[in-house]
Symmetry: D2
Subunit: 353 residues, 4 copies
Amino acid sequence: MFNEFGKIIKLTTYGESHGPAIGGIIDGFPAGLSVDLDAIQKELDRRKPGQSKIVTQRKEDDKVEFLSGIFEGKTTGQSIGFVIKNTNQKSKDYEHNTQIFRPSHADFTYFQKYGIRDHRGGGRTSARETANWVVAGALSKQLLPLISINAFVSSVGDIHIEKDIDKLDLTQTENNIVRCPDEEIAEKMIKKISETKKEGDTIGGIITCIVKNVPIGLGEPVFDKLSSRLAQAMMSINAAKGFEIGSGFGGTRLKGSEHNDIFTEEGKTLTNRSGGIQGGISNGMDIVFKVAFKPVATIMKEQQTIDEKGNLTVINGKGRHDPCVVPRAVPVVEALAALVLADFWLLNKTRRI
Amino acid sequence: MFNEFGKIIKLTTYGESHGPAIGGIIDGFPAGLSVDLDAIQKELDRRKPGQSKIVTQRKEDDKVEFLSGIFEGKTTGQSIGFVIKNTNQKSKDYEHNTQIFRPSHADFTYFQKYGIRDHRGGGRTSARETANWVVAGALSKQLLPLISINAFVSSVGDIHIEKDIDKLDLTQTENNIVRCPDEEIAEKMIKKISETKKEGDTIGGIITCIVKNVPIGLGEPVFDKLSSRLAQAMMSINAAKGFEIGSGFGGTRLKGSEHNDIFTEEGKTLTNRSGGIQGGISNGMDIVFKVAFKPVATIMKEQQTIDEKGNLTVINGKGRHDPCVVPRAVPVVEALAALVLADFWLLNKTRRI
Amino acid sequence: MFNEFGKIIKLTTYGESHGPAIGGIIDGFPAGLSVDLDAIQKELDRRKPGQSKIVTQRKEDDKVEFLSGIFEGKTTGQSIGFVIKNTNQKSKDYEHNTQIFRPSHADFTYFQKYGIRDHRGGGRTSARETANWVVAGALSKQLLPLISINAFVSSVGDIHIEKDIDKLDLTQTENNIVRCPDEEIAEKMIKKISETKKEGDTIGGIITCIVKNVPIGLGEPVFDKLSSRLAQAMMSINAAKGFEIGSGFGGTRLKGSEHNDIFTEEGKTLTNRSGGIQGGISNGMDIVFKVAFKPVATIMKEQQTIDEKGNLTVINGKGRHDPCVVPRAVPVVEALAALVLADFWLLNKTRRI
Amino acid sequence: MFNEFGKIIKLTTYGESHGPAIGGIIDGFPAGLSVDLDAIQKELDRRKPGQSKIVTQRKEDDKVEFLSGIFEGKTTGQSIGFVIKNTNQKSKDYEHNTQIFRPSHADFTYFQKYGIRDHRGGGRTSARETANWVVAGALSKQLLPLISINAFVSSVGDIHIEKDIDKLDLTQTENNIVRCPDEEIAEKMIKKISETKKEGDTIGGIITCIVKNVPIGLGEPVFDKLSSRLAQAMMSINAAKGFEIGSGFGGTRLKGSEHNDIFTEEGKTLTNRSGGIQGGISNGMDIVFKVAFKPVATIMKEQQTIDEKGNLTVINGKGRHDPCVVPRAVPVVEALAALVLADFWLLNKTRRI
């Protein structure tokens, strides 16, 4: 529990945004995988700050160092320790926040729960933590070479992709800085984020994720359904407020006769309103899910708030923050999906004699 | 994992719809609680089949028997075993399905994953399992007497409550058979379900849940956030396809300056777009979340499908099924919310010295 | 935790000796095993009370009923619920103990910890619980048909087997009521127990367990070593006070040059002071371990004690108790060994790609 | 599982003896403890190599750096990452072992299990790992200031303390390099180890641990009894082959009337054959247990063995090894005891309403 995720492959993490380092341990990873370290760093680079004009201008190299569990290029079956040093903390940016609770942040709840909080940046609640997840996810992806996991930004504010998912060319996602595979919509999104940033404001968005070539049989009912665990994972991402699989909330308006996915002779289904999961177990169709992200709470505007003693005060945003979280959250969503799938893939080896 | 839920209070369950019984073990429940057995049975009665014209006409008494862990009316701190006998199985209703996969059911995935499935009713995938959850949830509610958990049906198909949540009188939820606190909308929902049933079809819907008087500090970042665990729990319910907390998917369209919940001097917030959870921890405001349910897959209409050998065939729905799952899912949503909250409440006793 | 044991195959149990039933859930058991129910009942019969003159004369049928997870004779991969009804409770035997703490029993600690205790028999602390373990262990044995697990009584009081383990004919264990494969020593043990019983007293003993044909590779360092988990399991048995693997305490007196197990060309070792486990992982040699059991605390003699209020008083043993725990603990030791091995066998399927 | 220990306070570790670093994460540690970092380093110094003539002459500073979870001197309730850099690896010492299995080492089992092993030093199986445990244990000790945990060497080979435990002055343990509180016996032990070292051989020994001022109520039946968890922890230490609590194996020779611990009016017991644990729960008396350690497997003598291809060959010990493991294992035993007790102490806060 707490800072741990997974059943067989367990990721446990630590680290505050303004401490010396963040890092983690990937335990239970099987022996014998030839690790592509560059591919892992590449995923980290997709997530790192400062990569474009629409994300935070903070600069962090986000270089991961592996400390154990990989020997002569292969995993050994032992726990894999890794560390990412913090190199660009500007704690001064946060000195004004020492005793003030930022609205819609975790400041208030952490202080109330623990009686103490690391007020530099987000401390433990910083989205910097998700770099750890990307390391573990990138490694997990290498366990499942046939599976392809493609997340992309499907909406920013009220701008959203209107095409059917089938019509999208997912190879285009990385071609623009907002990570939307529909180039036309991408431009509108970028413009929207840029304008919002200029206003000192932030904006929400939605990420869609499509996972192809998933083996049939992943997921462990009744409480560790594939859908349940994906939901838990995605709702752990900072700013996540909603999760849908397949037809999601929209599917509630349909009748059974409209919603059911009819089988073909090949064991596929004509439609995929189930989103690739039936009874909590993957059915071999694409897994399709969405994650809703609220607008980042830190805005460059004056807001009323209170301090630790309950006095009313005013806060002005400082620091270098993302005007919209979704472009950088794309690799995070993919990483968590990879972790969940790799874990269930291993677990599934134990379900039949 | 598998059939187990919770950290300190762990519910582990078993049972197929057409076996001799279902049941479970509630482990880790603290000693010293005077148990109100009638209140538990009452919750089961809210969930049981046959209670109204818009739910399945199957008759099950759903009487729970406690076998351990309660002595002279009080919990002893030992594991609490309970059993609910199955009394109204009509396995014959399912004989025609022996080797046929029902569309959008778990038949196909269970067969592929395990190589064997109990084809009577839903076997382990039957929503009958949720009676076990209601037992554990009803007991958990008693641990948290001040907290009130109120779920209700907020939409059926395209009929939905339009009033603000604050305007609803939640004491009215149980006054109609669809469990919607807005009487006018309730009537429309009942009519909609009745018509759908006549057509031999089914319809989806949404349940909203509001939890009041939650202590500040529940939830365990970074992976066992209160929102993450609620999501996992709710997505484990049969037919659940989506989960939102607070502003959810709608909140993605807002700007930070519109979305942020501004603090008052009392440590409350003027708005509650966070849905009572910030940084994964309860902030003392009402917890508000929604769960989307797809239409029940079993319809009384002919559908194309395949059998275990992959041959195309046709299936006709039989058995006694719910035309809409949401009225009976209301106590299930409440039960899981109670389980999650009671578990985090206990866990929170260990977070500070 | 609490009433749960195992990683993939998890046994969770409940039940007091004087409640309506005991039972459990075996979760995570793989699908597809043809279950021999008679073999399970046979193991229970080895453990049941009343089977000979040197064990408690309490009569319990100890019939196990399976409630789920087995369909048409095979495991389905779903949780396996089972129940053993209590049929011979004589709660009156315990009425005199209501508020008195029996010396060296769990009465005092349970009362202090939980503030409440089921004072009928041992309540949850009764060795009756071990019947649940035998069910799960007997099922686990069937997963591992090649492995043979042979526990036997190696000492009672100061009477002990003097022969080398290799010289014992383990097929003889069940030929006498004390379960010692050395017939001559068995007779002495039986005599010793009978005399002790006549005195109203009890006596301790040691069980040795030898597991043959164990696959190489079972055990999960660094904290779930095979030796660590066997130790945890065995020390969970009522009255267990010690555990040794291989050379154990005796091996501490040796030098490395005397203790090391030298390899043969076949990958076997000439000696087996390691007891079949090196670095926490099975090496293919016989696993050999011992469990020490103290004398049963309930004696038919007057003893000074205190009551719940701390007043000095006197207790006289009543009820039907074992004069020596080891004969009936033999199948319990085997059952837990089977559980541990089956669990690690499944887990080992995930350790290499 | 795997490299993780604990229920609420979970220690997860990583690191090979010849990699860049070892380290770990302490998750679930409560907020608000003022940490004495010097006290932690002091415990590490008790374990470190090179501290006396009777231990390995390898030099490692074993300096721990904390990377998170401690802010302005206090624990924050967040995961505590720490690292101990390896500074004195001499991998060359192990080059001759690349493909040879050292007798009674984990080389063979790791290679068979994982298909790959880090052959430098012990890799993951090195006792260097126990430095991680000492960090977590030393921190845990600070949670329980009233409890005192005193381990000491009670035997080396056939030299053992003969005095009653009550007669020992435990403040003397650190006064000699073998860590035996009986000065006269300590001298004999030191002589024994020195002689054994000269012979190029190694010798086993026993550590006794006495824990005073333990609160009543720690331990979680039925599978997480305090005795079960201590056994699991201690049997995880490299070279551990046996564990006893209280009367242990010796107690099996007694009768119930001799063994029972009679209560006094104060709720204490006149004797302590239970070793401070009854029914798996601490009873407030001293917890007393013993751990048996085999002689270190690496000896400076020629031994027959096999290589990875199964060919017979000869091995000569090299490297810098302990001639006897027990002096340096004393702080390790204490650390694991502290971890277990702190964990159960937190868990016990949840067992009553």
